[in-house]
């Protein structure tokens, strides 16, 4: 186990290195850099643009820049943001925290809703409730996330029950500690719900399909023969056996903690990494993108590691090869 962990972590370090190299290369692939659009401004001269590029070392070949960046990383410096004239790491830190709050809540809700929903539709397979569930998931799949989020925002506005975005009210500063927590929770509700709803159909379908397979197994019949209550049969007997693909999905849930909420954050102006990243992507603020990529890779590695450990733990037949 310890050996397995150390080996995985060593691989993870290698992986991160590879990710950084490839990402860096990819980022160079598309033409134009951060300062290119300035060239189209009639009031800014090419000399100034060149000067700015030189200031950030963009005039040097990318392997050199990469080496420079990598050296910085070992000192905890993720490079500069061109747009913000400031180091990337502190930019990311605050926003990453907000994003994690949002995605963490949303993932939790999504799983908590999806598991019973998936199980129920597996159990009531072919009945009207299952069919209705099918229609709803299909509908959710046809509605692009972006539209869904906008519709939810619209709902918030029209009903007036929910805040229309942001993470805190304008009066946040005047609130007590408890009040602040409540305020954040109040603002969190809608984006988290939106994100949960967007992730729901895939989860429900996977759970449903996995449960259907397991519910046919003879040991389920045997469990019922022993008079074990239905919900225990479903949760204790069937679910762990059906869990295999769900665990992989769960790993992804963890892995995408930083990136899953991009659109929600943009639409519902949640002060997470999303708007920053989107802007950085479009503006080619490469070190911000790179920083986010590296941070997400860490989550990816963690998510998959957790998934693998869970996989080994839940299904004793899988041998942990170490």
């Amino acid at each position: 186990m310890t050996r397995y962990l150390t080996r995985r972590l060593a691989h993870a370090a290698l992986l991160l290195l590879a990710v950084s190299v490839f990402s860096f290369a990819l980022l160079q692939l598309a033409p134009g850099d951060f300062f290119a659009p300035l060239k189209l401004n009639p009031q800014i001269s090419a000399r100034t643009v060149e000067g700015l590029r030189a200031q950030y070392g963009l005039d040097r070949p990318w392997p050199v820049r990469y080496g420079h960046w990598l050296r910085g990383v070992f000192h905890g410096d993720l490079g500069p943001s061109f747009a913000y004239n400031s180091p990337v790491a502190p930019l990311l830190a605050v926003r990453a925290r907000n994003t994690l709050l949002l995605t963490g809540t949303a993932m939790l809700w999504a799983w908590l809703i999806a598991i019973p929903l998936g199980i129920v539709s597996a159990v009531r397979r072919g009945k009207w409730s299952d069919r209705a569930g099918g229609v709803v998931t299909s509908a959710l799949l046809t509605i692009p996330d972006l539209v869904l989020f906008l519709a939810i925002l619209l709902l918030a506005v029209r009903s007036g029950w929910f805040p229309t975005g942001g993470m805190v009210s304008t009066a946040f500063g005047e609130l007590s500690g408890r009040g602040r927590a409540m305020d954040i929770a109040y603002h969190l509700f809608l984006p988290a719900l939106a994100l949960a709803i967007a992730t729901l159909p895939a989860l429900v379908r996977h759970i449903r399909s996995a449960m259907i397979e397991v519910l046919q197994a003879p040991f389920i019949r045997a469990a019922r023969a022993h008079g074990i209550s239905e919900y225990r049969v479903l949760l204790r007997y069937a679910l762990p056996v059906a869990a295999n693909p769900l665990i992989s999905l769960f790993g992804f849930s963890v892995a995408t903690m930083l990136s899953a909420s991009l659109l929600v954050e943009v639409i519902l102006s949640w002060p997470g990494i999303g708007p920053l990243l989107l802007e950085a992507i479009l503006a080619k603020d490469v070190y911000v993108v790179l920083g986010t990529v590296m941070l997400s890779s860490v989550f990816l590695v963690l998510g998959n590691l957790v998934a693998d450990l869970l996989l080994f733990a839940v299904d004793p037949r899988i041998r942990m090869e170490s």
Partner: protein
Amino acid sequence: MTHRQKLVGALVLLAAFQFLILFAGFFAPYGFAAQDREQPFAAPTTVHFWDTQGHFHLRPFIVDSESSEARVYPVRFFVSGTPYKIAGIIPAQVHLFGVEQPGRIFLMGSDAYGRDQFSRFLFGGQSSMLAGLIAALLSVSIGILVGGIAGYYGGWVDELLMRGGELFLALPWLYLLFAVRAALPLHISQWEVFLLLVSVMGLIGWARPARLIRGVVLSAKQRNFVVAARGFGASDAYLLRRHVLPQTYGVLLTQMTLLIPQYVLAEVTLTFLGLGVGEPLPSWGTQLASLQQFYVLSSYWWMFLPALLLIPLFLVFYAAADALQEIHKTVAL
């Protein structure tokens, strides 16, 4: 109804849909690029059977109330109109229905350029269905291959492939899309650009299905019947093909039913990033993408119609996958 019948039913429905799409030129009253600049965002035309006096007419008609005096245009069938090509080859110009110029029949309303949404929906299916299927198949088949091998052989093969998958998942592919788009020659047609982008997306989308499949395979290969089959001298390829991978059917089918809509709609996100299908090429993604504009969403309900039509389509996919899974029932032991 048995599962086989269900499957056949679903496939027939799908085939019918494909037929509509394939012969879009015939079923659509207008070409997909035909603009009517006088009527952007026109609401769906109501087809009347009863006139104002309450008389019933067998031939339906529409009323154009936009122009100064309301004019009545009867709906005509098998009219000749914009030339098109059947299945992209045979030129023709007969349309199933239409109305006389300057009347316009918009069954599903018109879009920002005054183009017939119904026609665009039918034509859009050609690219979207193809794109969805190609991309989903690409992702899933690479996923099967990689996931199957990683799970089956385990050990360093697994480590290598899964770390490779993580690398793939971690990279900022958007830039590849940007780069591909930017590097393409100017004269490659929108259609090809679109297919290329979708294929790239399909190609890089394998990592997720691969991991799902690998997880299942890790457990599936330990089943007694796999061991038993090895006892007959079955090769690894055979075991994977006949015993191990079939156990991933459930996951695979679910992935497919999720990926097809996902890739069909991938354009919506692409459009958001400015990488969508180039105009005037129609696609479902672009039709839905217009919904992401607040004014469309809040003002023109008929812009939802394409989405509404897609729901049953995806349901049929869902039903087909469901039936397939039932037929292929693998009891988890």
